[in-house]
Subunit: 424 residues, 2 copies
């Protein structure tokens, strides 16, 4: 970023994640990445991210170094009830503020267990032993409280390492504190354009002719059959950022399904809901993942009737009426069977839409004409012609299944919104 | 780790990843995780992982700190052809060894472009400017060479940040060097004990009376309703590690479902397969996730007939024969409905086992008597009494659903293996 454009001072933040399992590579550290995204979005400049072992000396050194670089330090992990959880002990040492048992925290822990009719294990009392000078941030989602402390001129927050708890605590408790304490921050403007069924390189070549305005940064975040484009820039660039976003959208429709944060499943569900339409599924190789992706959206019951996991051939015949002769003549992975599944699901459920998915996710089961990665998807709709596509997805079993779910949703999105059909 | 048991010295390693995109959270840092796994497997103790910006001062500070802690430092990123790639410059500064253009590296770059019929962009010449004292490690997969340097008593390797190139260079060039230079390394032995339906704190209190042998380290890795226990130690401790593992297993059965790497779904599928038994599912709040978890296992079609996603009440009535009066009298989230779902699925599919899941995943839909997190699971089995449990899970929608899937699998595992029933 050009220095001229930066009217407001940069405020540094740093992240320290704690845990032997992170250093041994047993666990992928997604907390650091999530926090970096959030802090950057708030306008902080993240100066460093570090991971250290569950050892007080290492934690003290890392937090002290982070506090020298940054006004705000976020520490995650090491707040659990077991002996290898030593973050509170380290922060006590760093700040010269001894550990003391907080009666209110201990009482909240006891109530938490009592409400579930379970006696509190003695080990959990460790989680009420906090540095004396720490402010407690109650954690309604788990047993480990978060805390806030000062060291030197920096604010240090310690959060549990369980990702769901960490994220909820950050959003509900820490983010508001940071926003009110650091009013001078210029939030970076982010545009999120979500793309499906178009490869990263193809997106790049379509966008090559569009010049990126000064101060705008474009990042590609691929995940399965979807790519997130992130456009970011300082507040001063709002106009040029908006203009560039519109140019990107023009070149990528109908592959862009969202300008914002909704998932593909959310977009599809809202489109169905607005039209009063409903959906039933028949899944084979995805085994329920499409249903799982849709029902991850609260309120999906408004449009999703339900479906069948017709994994065995018998299930396909018996439950959604796939003709046994189609299975014999064309095999379970065929256009005929996918269409019969989609149609059978829609008719049995009396819904507006039906989807059928059948494929070879691998690692076994491939043939020369139907290699691993072959997935057939059919979309049927009351009073409209049935659509189907044969895909050949790259990647392992999980990757093939994830891509199949995304493409199944995208085909439905296009059908519901009246967009051009998917290319195979 | 106790010093007495350690016959061989621990050799420290450290990882520094470089890149603004990592700090802004635009890119998830998978390199650090991959390298940590590899180094741990070789027997190194990874002491720290850090990420810094593309700024020479920050890189110098981070590499210097890493070299104080560790004999081997791996640096990734910042070797590209653009001006924001400054790792070589930083290493030149750190080691007092000025940047000079290497004729052989420049020539290799030119040949690389020529072989693809493309003129070399001038920018790529930057990649041939290396610290004078660096040893070059040629990179056949990309334009950035890797280098090896000494600083203090430590070996520093700098590798490109592109994951494929980094991994290939590590495996082909760096790993063999490390193995021959650090012959004293004892590859760590790891025991993985996988536990379900027992909270971390409860595990800790059950294990409190068992003394951990010197040199053995125990880590807890919770994820949903499952906890992985990792026991690790140097090679010399194989016997005491094994003895301790057996003591842990005695105290945690029947909650331990695996000593090794199989997932809960794999364990269940193998147990069913060995007995020639089969399974059908009726899922409501999990919406297909149980099917998704089971079908993630290649070969699950041997035992999984399939199932129903009976999300709407109509689907429950029509497809698995839940009596409308049960829904009216007890509500969709009730023992009666879960049992009818499991039983209906099993009968319709003519399988040995049936599972029914119904619950309130949230965020809406809770009531005082059935709060969000209430999930009822039923397991039916041909010729045996039907079992059911009412759970109250903590956490958000995703967490509730993940826990429900794990508990459904665990109840089935217990039924198939003849273990004591799940406690609610």
């Amino acid at each position: 970023m050009g220095k001229g454009a930066r009217r407001r001072p940069a405020v540094g933040a740093a992240i320290v994640t704690v845990g032997d399992e992170l250093l041994a590579g047993i666990t992928l550290d997604t907390n650091a990445h999530w926090l970096a995204t959030r802090l950057t979005g708030l306008g902080f400049t993240v100066r460093s991210v570090g991971t250290v072992a569950d050892e007080p000396a290492a934690i003290v050194e890392a937090v002290a170094a982070a506090a020298r670089r940054a006004k705000v330090v976020l520490v995650t992990g090491g707040l659990g009830p077991t002996r290898d959880d030593r973050t509170f002990e380290a922060l006590a040492k760093l700040t010269g503020s001894p550990l003391t048992t907080r009666a209110d925290v201990a009482e909240a822990l006891r109530r938490r267990f009592a409400s579930r009719g379970v006696p509190m294990p003695a080990a959990n009392l460790r989680q009420a032993r906090l540095p004396r000078s720490a402010d407690v941030i109650p954690n309604p989602w788990g047993t480990a409280p978060a805390i806030r402390m000062r060291t030197g001129g920096s604010l240090v927050f310690a959060l549990p390492g369980v990702p769901g708890e960490m994220r909820s605590l950050f959003e509900d408790a820490i983010r508001p504190q940071l926003e009110s304490r650091f009013r001078e921050l210029a939030p970076r403007i982010l545009e999120r354009l979500r793309v499906v069924a178009l490869a990263e390189a193809e997106i790049a070549s379509r966008l090559a002719p569009v010049s990126v305005p000064r101060g705008v940064r474009v990042s590609y975040l691929p995940s399965g059959a979807e790519v997130d484009l992130r456009l970011s820039g300082a507040a001063v660039d709002r106009t040029s950022l908006g203009r560039y976003a519109r140019a990107v959208i023009r070149r990528l429709v109908p592959h862009i399904y969202e300008r914002g944060n909704r998932s593909l499943a959310e977009v599809v569900i809202e489109a169905l809901r607005e039209r009063g339409e409903s959906l039933a599924l028949a899944e084979s190789c995805t085994g329920g993942l499409l249903g799982g992706r849709l029902t991850a959206v609260a309120g999906s019951s408004d449009v999703l009737w339900g479906g069948w996991v017709t994994y065995a051939n018998d299930a396909k015949i018996q439950e959604v009426g796939v003709p046994a002769r189609s299975l014999a003549a064309h095999g379970a992975v065929s256009v005929e069977v996918a269409v019969a599944m989609a149609d059978g699901a829609r008719r049995a459920a009396s819904t507006s839409h039906g989807i059928g998915i059948t494929g070879i996710a691998g690692p076994g089961g491939g043939t020369p004409t139907k290699p691993v990665g072959t997935v057939v998807i059919a979309w049927t709709r009351r009073g409209a012609p049935t659509l189907h596509r044969v895909f050949r997805f790259d990647g392992n079993r999980d990757a093939v299944r994830e891509q199949a779910v995304s493409l199944a949703l995208d085909g439905l999105r296009r059908a519901v919104l009246g967009l051009p059909e998917l290319e195979a």
